[in-house]
């Protein structure tokens, strides 16, 4: 994507987004509601035209690909099949449009676990089944590039796990996988690399480990019966503190510093320490920090 911009009237949905999603890994796509994730994916797949800039798949605009389904597959919305058509007919039509052998239809129906209901009309499918059909459609052309917008929605826990393994497997085969989700814990398990946008702008584009590292800022948890004696010394070292929740008031989180430094400090001042631990922040916390200023539709702290 190069300087990709999309305006809806006066509102800018995506602004000058430049990023490259690389093969061989799962790239998570994160951002608050309305941040422009779906719009970005729709532009990549040629459904929406960018106001300016361009989105390229394998170096070319999607619409210029000769057999587009064989180059990129996408699940953009579970409502992408006619409810009166059977799952098999839906996929067969797609296959014919791109010269994909009919055997692929059976193969992807097997992959997503819909083989038994292939002849049923899509209108009778649950949300989870529709998501599976959408994933089947994305996989149909055996494309090297996959875009999945909120694929986890509607899947049961088994389905979530199945999808995680599928997606990791696809990336391991060297494919490019671009995946959006609201479930941070799921993303932390699945993605290798994360792109975060807020209000249409790029906030972060880096490996998931470095995002978490950045977000955690070496938080250290200390529990002590004589916490009050320790606090002035910690402050004297220039460390900032905040209360740790759910500990009855005898614990505190220290930002910055190292375990050794904090432990030595307590020892020097003769303060007993019952717990001293490094806390690793989750992707969720790191994400919250990153996007705090760009929540589009959400409560904001009163100023």
């Amino acid at each position: 994507m190069r300087h990709l911009t999309k305006k809806h009237g006066a509102r800018t949905a995506v602004e000058a987004l430049t990023l490259e999603v690389r093969p061989g890994r799962v790239t998570g796509f994160l951002g608050p509601n309305g941040a422009g994730k779906s719009t970005t994916m729709r532009m990549v797949m040629g459904l929406d035209a960018p106001t300016s800039g361009q989105a390229l798949v394998n170096g070319r605009p999607y619409a210029e690909l000769r057999h587009p389904l064989r180059e990129a597959g996408a699940l953009l919305d579970p409502r992408s099949a006619h409810p009166g058509r059977s799952a098999r007919a839906h996929l067969t039509g797609m296959a014919r449009s791109n010269g994909i052998p009919a055997a692929r239809v059976t193969a992807v129906l097997d992959t997503v676990g819909l083989a038994a209901v292939a002849g049923r009309r899509v209108g009778s499918f649950s949300l989870g089944m529709r998501q599976r059909l959408g994933i089947a459609a994305a996989l149909l052309g055996d494309p090297p590039v996959l875009l999945l917008d909120e694929p986890v929605n509607g899947l049961d826990p088994d389905g979530v796990r199945w999808l995680r393994e599928l997606v990791r497997g696809l990336a391991a085969e060297g494919r490019t996988v671009f995946l959006s989700s609201h479930l941070m814990s799921e993303m932390q398990e699945t993605a290798d690399h994360v792109v975060v946008i807020g209000r249409g702008r790029l906030i972060a584009d880096e490996p998931i480990a470095s995002i978490i590292e950045r977000g955690s800022r070496n938080t250290i948890r200390i529990r002590s019966p004589r916490l009050g004696d320790l606090l002035p010394h910690l402050a004297g070292e220039g460390l900032s503190m905040r209360p740790a929740g759910g500990s009855g008031g005898d614990a505190i989180l220290v930002l910055g510093g190292t375990l050794a430094a904090v432990g030595d400090l307590a020892f020097r001042h003769g303060v007993p320490v019952h717990e001293l631990s490094q806390r690793r922040a989750s992707l969720e916390e790191a994400y919250m920090e990153l996007t705090a200023s760009s929540v589009e539709y959400g409560e904001r702290d009163p100023a």
């Binding site: 729709r42 040629g46 919305d77 006619h82 009166g84 007919a89 014919r96």
Partner: protein, 247 residues
């Protein structure tokens, strides 16, 4: 292009509305042909000069049965927007003109074949009830069947274009029904010469000419030109919207 056509073909035959539309077209044609034929016979018996080749009754019957083609071709487009399957369709065939031509080609081919069948069916239903007042030659029947095929093919193109432009079944079908049935009556009811001339150049009037080879108000060549002009204009308008608007 072959892929786009095969795609549309598969989609058309895998929804029930197609079969319902075709069944409705057959029933409407048969029923209307019988009614038109009986009416012509009764009037002729009472001394009016209503004798004409039975295949010409098809032209009247099709004014009703054509609505099935309108529904068929319109739903092939608007059904995609209503269900969201347009997302799949545009991902499969992202080149807009190729998609539109694929839809148009399949709708027109099916409508043409349907028209020929309806021409034969209508003649077969009208002839027995018209008896001696409906005598016709094999050429009359062949012309009517071919004309019905050509007319319905053009109507399918028109409907595809309007459906693509409006994206809503309600809007497109209402508009087409008005254009095909209400507007011609209205224009002729007013009585102004130039409005009649406009009415003569509506698709339905050209269709009647094509089926009956009436040479009133013009010949088959002009009728084909009129139908083509409407089809091309509607498809062009549909293409403009398809290109300009996000799916």
């Amino acid at each position: 292009m072959r892929g786009a056509i095969a795609f549309e073909w598969t989609k058309l035959w895998s929804v029930r509305s197609t079969w319902w539309s075709l069944a409705a077209a057959g029933l409407l044609t048969a029923a209307a042909s019988v009614v038109v034929g009986m009416s012509a016979f009764a009037s002729a018996e009472n001394g009016f000069d209503t004798a004409r080749p039975a295949p010409h009754a098809v032209a009247d019957a099709l004014m009703v049965a054509q609505l099935a083609v309108v529904v068929l071709a319109t739903l092939a487009v608007t059904g995609e927007y209503a269900s969201g399957s347009i997302r799949t369709t545009l991902q499969s065939v992202p080149v807009r003109w190729r998609l539109l031509l694929g839809k148009a080609a399949v709708a027109a081919a099916v409508a043409a074949a349907l028209g020929v069948l309806l021409g034969i069916l209508g003649t077969a239903c009208a002839a027995p009830v018209m008896r001696e007042y409906g005598e016709f030659t094999a050429a009359d029947a062949a012309v009517a069947a071919a004309g019905a095929g050509g007319y319905l093919a053009a109507l399918a193109l028109l409907s595809t274009g309007i459906g693509t432009m409006l994206r809503s079944a309600a809007g497109a079908i209402t508009g087409l029904v008005l254009l095909q049935l209400a507007v011609p009556q209205l224009l002729r009811a007013i009585g102004a010469r130039w409005l009649e001339s406009v009415a003569d150049h509506l698709p339905s009037s050209a269709g009647v000419v094509l089926i009956t080879r009436d040479h009133e108000p013009y010949g088959a060549g002009i009728a084909i030109a009129v139908l083509l002009a409407w089809s091309v204009a509607a498809l062009a308008a549909g293409y403009v919207v398809l290109r300009a608007r996000d799916a």
